[in-house]
């Protein structure tokens, strides 16, 4: 199995795009990554996207984007696993390069949600759930998060305000990220009185509806010498792993444990031959505060039932033992569903390349990105290290 390296990264600010459509957004992120990379020829393209089917009436995004970036002809694929689509696309691109069939691969995560009505987005993201036994009963993605959160508070005797640590940290860190959607810190007093979306989940507990595109260029490590030498430092993919769980929360062994995230992170630690303590930052899937808490626990960064409390006590701060959402996370950078997993990886690469300014995690040599589909059915973990 060949080693695989990230040689270029690109992103557009997470925002609401009214004058650029899906193909344009993908183009902009991909061209940035390509230009950043020093690669001459791209051999294959992967597009991570969750919602173009219904929100843009468009399928076959692999071919569409390949053509639009001037690469008509190359192999291309669209990969989907809810809001883990981007990360799962990266895993496929990783395998494509590792296999030896392709030397270079572009990967873009792209999503356009803001042009649709909120009710259309809610209907579309409900498809991340089990249609027959969750969505048909009236469940939305947020309502399932809420069910998990209420039970978590009950079972582990956690006050709701403990969850404030997640949006608070995310917004604080986003202030210094020019690509983030919300670049303003939030106050606990606001968190306490802001409107509920699905009790006990409030508007600050969930990531916004938004648009975005982020991209990386992969290159087989044994082909690196062919690249031009003035490029940025390459970043090694030390692990790329995927695991799954029941789609419906009610079907899981423990509704309060993200088994897929656990398995995927364990496989990743093993593949990278690293312990949690060897890793300096963790971009986790904070699509809601409860998912952030459960992700900390699944990745072994907090004991079961302690994720929220540990976060409130400083675990996840930039200078804490397990910094997460270092550039704003899903909550404040934004969660453009199928693009999110690539934003995470781009941000870790930025950290390892020391391009994160005031948010730089000092001594960062390894970072973990974990992306989750919906409420936990698909989990994709990448560990990046300096080469």
């Amino acid at each position: 199995m060949r080693e695989v390296t990230i040689v270029g990264i690109g992103q557009i600010p997470v925002s609401e795009y009214w004058t650029r459509s899906l193909r344009h957004m993908a183009h902009d992120a991909l061209m940035a990554a390509w230009q950043d990379s020093g690669v001459e020829e791209v051999d294959t393209l992967y597009v991570g996207n969750a919602l173009a089917d219904e929100l843009s009436d468009q399928k076959q995004l692999g071919a569409l984007v390949a053509d639009f970036i001037g690469q008509r002809g190359i192999a291309a694929a669209r990969v989907e696993a809810g809001d883990a689509s981007g990360a799962l696309a990266l895993h496929q691109a990783y395998l494509a390069v590792a296999s030896g069939m392709y030397d270079t691969a572009l990967v873009v995560g792209v999503e356009q949600m803001s042009a649709a009505l909120p009710v259309e987005v809610i209907s579309a993201t409900a498809r991340f759930l089990d249609q027959e036994y969750e969505a048909t009963m009236g469940a939305t993605l947020n309502s399932i998060f809420a069910l998990m959160m209420r039970r978590y508070m009950y079972e582990y005797k956690v006050p709701r305000d403990a969850f404030f640590a997640f949006p608070s940290t995310a917004h604080q860190n986003a202030v210094n990220n020019p690509n983030a959607m919300f670049r303003k810190a939030i106050k606990e007093s606001t968190y306490k009185r802001i409107a509920m979306i699905s009790e006990p989940l409030n508007m600050f507990d969930v990531a916004p509806i938004c648009d975005g595109a982020a991209a990386v260029m992969l290159c087989a490590t044994d082909k690196l010498p062919v690249l031009r030498h003035d490029g940025p430092p390459p970043v090694r993919i030390a692990a790329s792993t995927v695991a799954t769980d029941a789609v419906a929360v009610h079907d899981r062994q423990d509704p309060l444990f993200l088994e897929a995230a656990f398995i995927s992170s364990q496989l990743a630690y093993r593949q990278a031959t690293l312990n949690q303590t060897d890793i300096q930052l963790f971009e986790l899937h904070d699509s809601s505060s409860i998912m952030a808490a459960l992700s900390l626990e699944a990745c072994g960064l907090a004991p079961r039932g302690e994720g929220a409390r540990a976060a409130a006590e400083g675990l996840i701060a930039l200078d804490g033992p397990a910094p997460i959402s270092t550039m704003g996370g899903l909550k404040a950078r934004g969660n453009p569903a199928g693009a999110t997993g690539i934003y995470q990886v781009v941000e870790i690469a930025q950290q390892l390349r020391e391009e994160t300014g005031a948010n730089h995690i000092s001594g960062a040599q390894a970072g973990l990105a974990q992306s989750i589909g919906g409420t936990g059915a698909t989990a994709v973990t990448h560990i990046l290290t300096q080469l």
Binding site: V119, T136, M137, G138, T140, A146, E199, H250
Partner: protein, 134 residues
């Protein structure tokens, strides 16, 4: 849309028909082809009593398109007395009266309306167990 899909799931939705695994005895709902407990094939039907208790709940008003007419409503995870958890709506109860652990029982109610043809879908919801409340 999806008339067949709804028709297909009638037994489950109207009567909470799941399965009991012939190998390990696990009571399974929703029904599956393979027992999630022991990985043997699961084919024997089992009708659940419909009794259980609230495991978690949440009142919401931001719903998907087909549920707009019915909002607000309260979603819940209900732990059936035979073991499985079920995702379903609570009915006949104000959200602020719901508590984790509250005994509930299954009833058949209108779930949603399918857009174009106005097809109405019925299925299980749970309400406070009458004898326990009285």
């Amino acid at each position: 849309m999806h008339i067949a899909q709804n028709w297909r799931l009638k037994a489950q939705r109207y009567r909470l028909v799941g399965e009991v695994c012939e190998h390990c005895g696990a009571k399974i709902f929703p029904p599956r082809d393979i027992c999630p407990n022991c990985s043997h094939s699961a084919k024997e039907s089992f009708e659940f009593s419909g009794r259980g208790e609230v495991y978690s709940f949440s009142a919401l008003s931001e719903t998907a398109e087909k549920f707009q007419r019915f909002r607000p409503y309260t979603m819940a995870l209900v732990k059936l007395e035979e073991g499985p958890l079920v995702t379903a709506q609570l009915t006949d109860v104000e959200p602020d009266k719901v508590k984790i652990g509250m005994p509930v029982e299954m009833v058949t109610r209108r779930l949603m309306e399918e857009g174009n043809e106005g097809i109405i879908l019925y299925g299980y919801k749970f309400r406070p167990m009458l004898d326990k409340v009285a």
